[in-house]
């Protein structure tokens, strides 16, 4: 029975709403310090100014290090194309901060929408199953399936 499937799946990801998607985390890292390593091994230490859904980022007050790790540059600000990034290291505390923010947003959304939500609840419950396989929709919060709380 497909309903059973849905329930099992929901519990497996239920406590991790999609809004903690990697790119949402990046969004939440704005003004936070981070280390970005590019595919070519160069690293950039700076504060995130802005980012987009391509993972393009702008940093300020940057220390650039070459791939060998033996030369260093100070850069006031820089733009990095997302496709050249290998990984980003962000503050450990960021995940908790995002979670709290999400809970607040969810509570606010629930009380604002009131009874309307419970009606949409069933529909919302179905959507994430598909979405989870190929997660679409990006980091927009308060979207599908958020109706069922946790």
């Amino acid at each position: 029975m497909s309903e059973g499937h849905g329930a099992a799946r929901e519990s497996s990801l239920g406590e991790w709403p999609r809004s903690t998607l990697p790119l949402s985390l990046l969004n939440a890292a704005q003004n936070k310090p981070m280390l970005v390593e590019l595919k070519n091994g160069e690293t950039f230490n700076g504060h995130l100014v802005n980012c987009d859904n391509f993972m393009n980022i702008t940093l300020r007050e940057v220390y650039q290090t070459n791939a060998e790790g033996d030369r260093f540059w100070k850069v006031k600000e820089c733009y990095i194309r997302g496709s050249t990034i290998k990984y980003l290291r962000v503050p450990d505390t960021l995940l908790d901060a995002v979670k709290e923010e999400q809970n607040r947003a969810r509570e606010a959304g629930r009380s604002a929408r009131g009874a309307h939500v419970s009606g949409a609840g069933n529909r919302g419950r179905g959507m994430p199953q598909r979405g989870r396989g190929a997660v679409r929709g990006g980091p927009m919060r308060g979207g599908r399936g958020r109706g069922r709380g946790m």
Binding site: S19, E68, R71
Partner: protein, 95 residues
């Protein structure tokens, strides 16, 4: 909640007539004075100098390219030349 980042995250207007450093896929690197740009990050730079054999060699060699159109999709890194300087290891004490 968060704004969907449709608009560019980089405001190139502030670099107009300023010298910027651009790196490309493949490793080439140039500096030049920003004269124009579009949403795709295509740039027009004047007084362009290509930095040859960066990173590997300590002595910087350049060649002059003059007025150049840079293709946005090949640009990997962009930063103002102002405030760019080589420094000693800033992480030395931490490591």
């Amino acid at each position: 909640m968060d704004k969907p980042k449709r608009e560019a995250i980089l405001d190139l207007a502030k670099y107009t007539n300023e010298r910027i450093r651009v790196k490309f896929t493949g490793g080439r690197e140039v500096t030049g004075v920003l004269k124009g740009y579009d949403q795709l990050l295509n740039l027009v730079l004047d007084e362009v100098e290509e930095n040859l054999q960066t990173e590997s060699d300590a002595d910087p060699q350049t060649r002059k390219l003059g007025l150049v159109v840079l293709r946005g999709p090949t640009i990997t890194l962009l930063s103002p030349v102002d405030g760019f300087e080589e420094i000693a290891n800033p992480f030395a004490q931490q490591e």
